[in-house]
Symmetry: C2
Subunit: 309 residues, 2 copies
């Protein structure tokens, strides 16, 4: 039982010369999503955002911004190139394209290097890898176009590996329900006042998108033993003392290791589970815009079991 | 500048019904080595062992035992299947086949699962993975044949990642010599009385085989930045208080992380560099024969640098 939870991600911001992205019809988004080898399962809307739940993660569309994440063996670069073709590079203010290291990279249709070679035929950009190849690492391409990023453009990602404890056990049980998962995660308190769209996959897996005004969050859970992975991404402050979202999710899901990626927001530290920051990095993609990366692991030495093949 | 230092390894023990493996002629070993996409560079002998230095690591041949390690994009499984064909499975007492996780697994000609599917057409065996897919891990197949392993069959492996310090710097310099590398490593003290065979590769890389009576050691150094890797394998006690080989090499090469694999000998602990055992495992492949695995990392949080692409 293996599923590749690790995601690829696009963020695209259009220039003011482009009309609203939300005016593009559903056939357009269906086509974009299908290019990544995914399907649209459902969609929710508010006055700012359309949030699509996909067979392989999520797509969020604002008037001038797209965030799309896909996991599994999806080919997200094909979606990005089609977006650039349709929108026109002259109307694009900023693009980033990211990949987390996969559990089984050899099964992917392309490497990050392959992807950015194609992307650079459309738009110039800077690409790098953060983290060693033999450990957790993160690839990121950002366009060199003069940028509209502001200090308000904060995004936090929390990527949890090898979850454990009662919630992790429930997530691999046969009788689970969407309602009970949302309750166990405490979503209504973590993300108060958000509209949700949640889906339980067969045989296993859970996705939820949430939107409230211009804020969004998305959580994807791949609970499969030996390759469990939970990703959380949001533009809500996850470090707020009143509502420390990241710390609460870490305490609930008890991952053996986790990464944090902060765009214009610092790396998240958490007291529980007791942990060590194995490696970290902070680097500017613009003078006032930093990407922060941290790789954490529980402090107790893990007793490994042989995985028979 | 990338070279895949991570090795694949065969250990094969013949039954008493088979003649001496050392009677096989040099054409046979040349052919076996070429099947792994490697070449024999040189050979040394003593009364017990022939030690071949290969373009991709090493081959040791005793009367009833073979140890072969190859790195890079070598196809060691092809060598093993040819050995089994030639020797005849009925004359084989024990086989193990191992792979360490590669830095860039997608470049390899086959996966471990592919390899053991072929191997099991010749000989039944138990295979497992130790360690998570997103961290250091080690694949091992051992034949189910009633075994001749004795408590004297001890092997220790020390696998070092991302070496640092003055010796690491020297190993990437342009003016290095075999003599100076041996002196910096202190080989004549670590392995006193051994005959050596050492080779410096172009543009970078160093291998040394050593033999003394029935003892052997082999060290392979891939010093390339971003993917540096040093492997040490020996049947000498590396934990001896009088000559703590493993501790001395760790202090010299200052790797960011390292793995230890002990066959019938415990995991090696070391005080320097200050470290944490992230994960460990001990499991029996026979009632009295255990494999021990440990994954260590320096305690200080590493400050990562973006690797531009």
């Amino acid at each position: 039982m293996f599923f590749e939870g690790s995601e690829k991600k696009i963020e695209l911001i259009t220039a003011s010369t482009h009309g609203s992205l939300r005016a593009l019809d559903s056939d357009f988004w269906t086509q974009i999503v299908s290019l990544a080898k995914a399907d649209i399962i459902s969609v929710i809307h508010n006055q700012h955002c359309d949030a699509y739940l996909l067979s392989e993660s999520s797509l969020f569309v604002w008037d001038n911004r797209i965030v799309m994440l896909t996991c599994g063996l999806s080919t997200l670069i094909d979606s990005l190139l089609a977006m650039l073709e349709h929108i026109g590079v002259d109307h694009v203010a900023f693009v980033s394209y990211q990949r987390k290291n996969e559990y089984l990279a050899h099964l992917q249709a392309s490497t990050f290097a392959d992807d950015i070679a194609r992307l650079r035929q459309y738009i110039p950009g800077t690409a790098c890898r953060i983290g060693h190849l033999d450990s957790h690492h993160h690839f990121i391409f950002t366009s060199d176009t003069p940028c509209l990023l502001t200090v308000q453009d904060n995004t936090s990602e929390l990527l949890m590996y090898h979850i454990s404890g009662p919630v992790a056990e429930y997530l691999t049980s046969t009788e689970q329900t969407v309602e009970q998962i949302c309750a166990l995660l405490g979503l209504s308190k973590l993300f108060e006042g958000f509209d949700y769209d949640a889906h339980l996959f067969t045989p296993l897996g859970f996705s939820v998108n949430g939107i409230k005004d211009e804020h969004y969050f998305t959580i994807h859970i791949t609970p499969q033993e030996q390759s469990s992975y939970v990703s959380v991404e949001t533009n809500v402050d996850v470090n707020s003392p009143d509502n420390p979202i990241a710390s609460q999710l870490l305490a609930l899901l008890q991952p053996i290791s986790w990464d944090t990626i902060g765009f214009n927001t610092p790396v998240i530290a958490s007291a529980k589970p007791k942990n060590i920051c194995l490696a970290h990095c902070s680097y500017p993609i613009e003078p006032d815009y930093h990407v922060h990366f941290g790789h954490f692991q529980q402090l107790d030495s893990e007793v490994l079991s042989p995985e028979f093949m």
